[in-house]
Amino acid sequence: MTLDKNARLGLLLATPTTLYVLLLIAAPVGMTIAYSFWTQEFVDVTRDFTWANYREVFADPLYRTLIFRSVRIAAMVTLLTVLLAYPVAYHIAFNVKKNKAMWLFLVTIPFWTSYLLRVFSWKLILAQNGVVNSALLWLGVIDTPIDTLLYNSEAVVVTLAHAWAPFAILPIFVSLEKIDRSYLEAAKDLGEGPVRSFLRVTLPLSIPGIIGASMIIFIPTVGDYVTPALVGGSDGAMVANMIQVQFGKANNWPLGAALALSAVVCVTGAACLLVLGLKLIERSLK
């Protein structure tokens, strides 16, 4: 096969990326798939094809609970983050006339602190002698510190929603910024007040941004393991924590791999349902 100069140059330029993707994504995924059909025999792995790992994942209520809880927590994080991010994005897109760039810059400031430190700071805020309890005690709202703020799934939801907010604000901002202002004037001209103009024009036209934001948050959140490990306790543990246990202490890589792939399938299904749901909302707004 002969290639012209441009094609060869293109191939050359694409090669490092392609190799990188093959080595760091395709290969690990392939290995995970392979492992999930093998069996752990003490320290060795038996390479005979088996469905046993998947049977265990679906039969054991513990794993099922963890997967469902992860999806539920991720869905709640997504909902909360989008609800909190939308007004901010709306404000920057419609109300800020000058210095939009500065506002967007401010939105990214939380990223200046590492993810781990941000999660850790929530631990300080929600702890028994943390910021929230101290403040409430000082105000006299409570007599004894509330000890249920930390180490549960709600703490995980709050922490993750904070961590992911900028990721939600940016795509929603872009979709709102793109809306031609004459559509809003047209809606007003055709007799609609601000609330109904928003529901009938602005919101449906920003659905692509909401879908983007939801996917960006939902998919990685299902598999998050730092936050549940730090603020989740046993009540807030998610599937990623169990996968880590299987690859670590429990030393059962095949089961861990099967668990990971089952989670991926569930996430894909849930993400599709999420998009479908948002599309239905878009339709009902017509």
Partner: protein, 364 residues
């Protein structure tokens, strides 16, 4: 025809900071007329339109629609609807959904709304395209949908903001005629903003010409063309030759004017009330200038001239004539008749005109 007032604009001004976009405009639109606001970009015509629609509030003055003052009434509660320059067809809705958008709180049933939409689609020539999605429409179709969407609400006044600017020339001419026919059939007052004087003249019953926020003249297209009030209006509405002269006698409707080198002639006074000896500017349309190799017969005044340039437009030919003692060339537009005389650059010719063809310009 009954001449009730649809829109009354009284002493309206609008300032944006220190910039005065609209200055003390007084204008009355009659019910059922097609009115065009004409002027160069930035003259305040769109601001005036937006004040009528309710998107801007006047800084001074009042706007009444159908006898009701509109101060403090938001755009969504005004009996006006607008065809936007960009058409603003909602991209997430199909044609029919766009058209019935404004009927949401009309109390009509779904089937009644659809019937109205069908009716409007037929009126604007888009039968059967109700299911089309917005991005499948051509420029002309978008304009028709925008018209249907606004007209289905039966506004007292339909406002059109440069509705033809996004269309190519051929389609624009076709849409102008259709718009005129549509306006006649629905009988609603149309107020169109445009910078294209041909467009305004072709479709309007009356036009208002605006410069720098002020309404310079309001008249029928014919009047505007034949009797412009100022040099600025005359220049904006087609080309015009100007002559400076002095008044020899003022008979009220007719003016005896002495033009240097041409001599004395009688022109339409057009409201000029100055007395003998006052300076006056006379306007003469290029097609009223006669040229020929002999002294033109029937011309009240005539002088020799020389052709210095020529522009061929197909149906007409423009000759640029150099006259002794005149800095601006005299422009003569000659219809390209079968037996018309043709002249070359450098030819010596005669140019002349009749007093009845010229008009005095009352204002500076």
């Amino acid at each position: 025809m009954d001449h009730k007032i649809a829109v009354n604009i009284a002493n309206v001004s609008k300032s944006f900071g220190s910039f005065r976009a609209v200055r003390n405009v007084n204008l009355q639109l009659k019910e059922g007329e097609f009115f065009s606001l004409l002027g160069p970009s930035g003259c305040g015509k769109s601001t005036l339109l937006r004040m009528i629609a309710g998107f801007e509030e006047p800084s001074e003055g009042t706007i009444s629609i159908g006898g009701l003052p509109m101060a403090g009434i938001d755009a969504n509660h005004r009996p006006t609807n607008m065809v936007f320059q960009s058409y603003a067809i909602f991209p997430h809705l199909n044609v029919e959904e766009n058209i019935i958008f404004g009927l949401a709180r009309s109390g009509l049933s779904r089937s009644e709304k659809r019937a109205r939409a069908e009716d409007m689609l037929a009126k604007v020539g888009l039968e059967g395209l109700g299911r089309r999605s917005a991005h499948e429409l051509s420029g002309g179709q978008r304009q028709r949908v925008a018209l249907a969407r606004a007209l289905v609400l039966e506004p007292k006044v339909l406002l059109l903001d440069e509705p033809m600017s996004a269309l190519d020339k051929k389609l624009r001419e076709q849409m102008q005629m259709e718009l005129r026919a549509l306006q006649r059939s629905v009988g609603i007052t149309f107020l169109m903003v445009t910078h294209d004087q041909h467009e305004a003249m072709t479709i309007s019953d009356r036009c208002g010409v605006m410069f720098e926020g002020k309404l310079a003249q309001v008249a029928t297209p014919h009047e505007l063309y034949q009797k412009p009030n100022t040099k600025q209006v005359a220049d904006f509405i087609g080309g015009m030759n100007f002559f400076d002269g002095s008044i020899k006698a003022n008979g009220g409707t007719r003016l005896e004017v002495e033009l240097p080198r041409f001599g004395q002639l009688s022109v339409d006074a057009h409201g000029v009330s100055d007395g003998i000896g006052a300076a006056v500017t006379i306007g003469l349309r290029p097609e009223r200038v006669h040229i020929g190799s002999e002294r033109p017969e029937g011309a009240d005044v005539a002088v020799p001239a020389r052709v210095i340039d020529r522009a061929f437009y197909g149906e007409t030919i423009h000759y640029y004539l150099e006259l002794e003692g005149r800095t601006d060339p005299l422009i003569a537009s000659v219809t390209n008749f079968e037996r018309a005389d043709h002249f070359e650059i450098g030819d010596a010719v005669w140019s002349g005109f009749r007093g009845g063809a010229a008009v005095a310009l009352p204002k500076k």
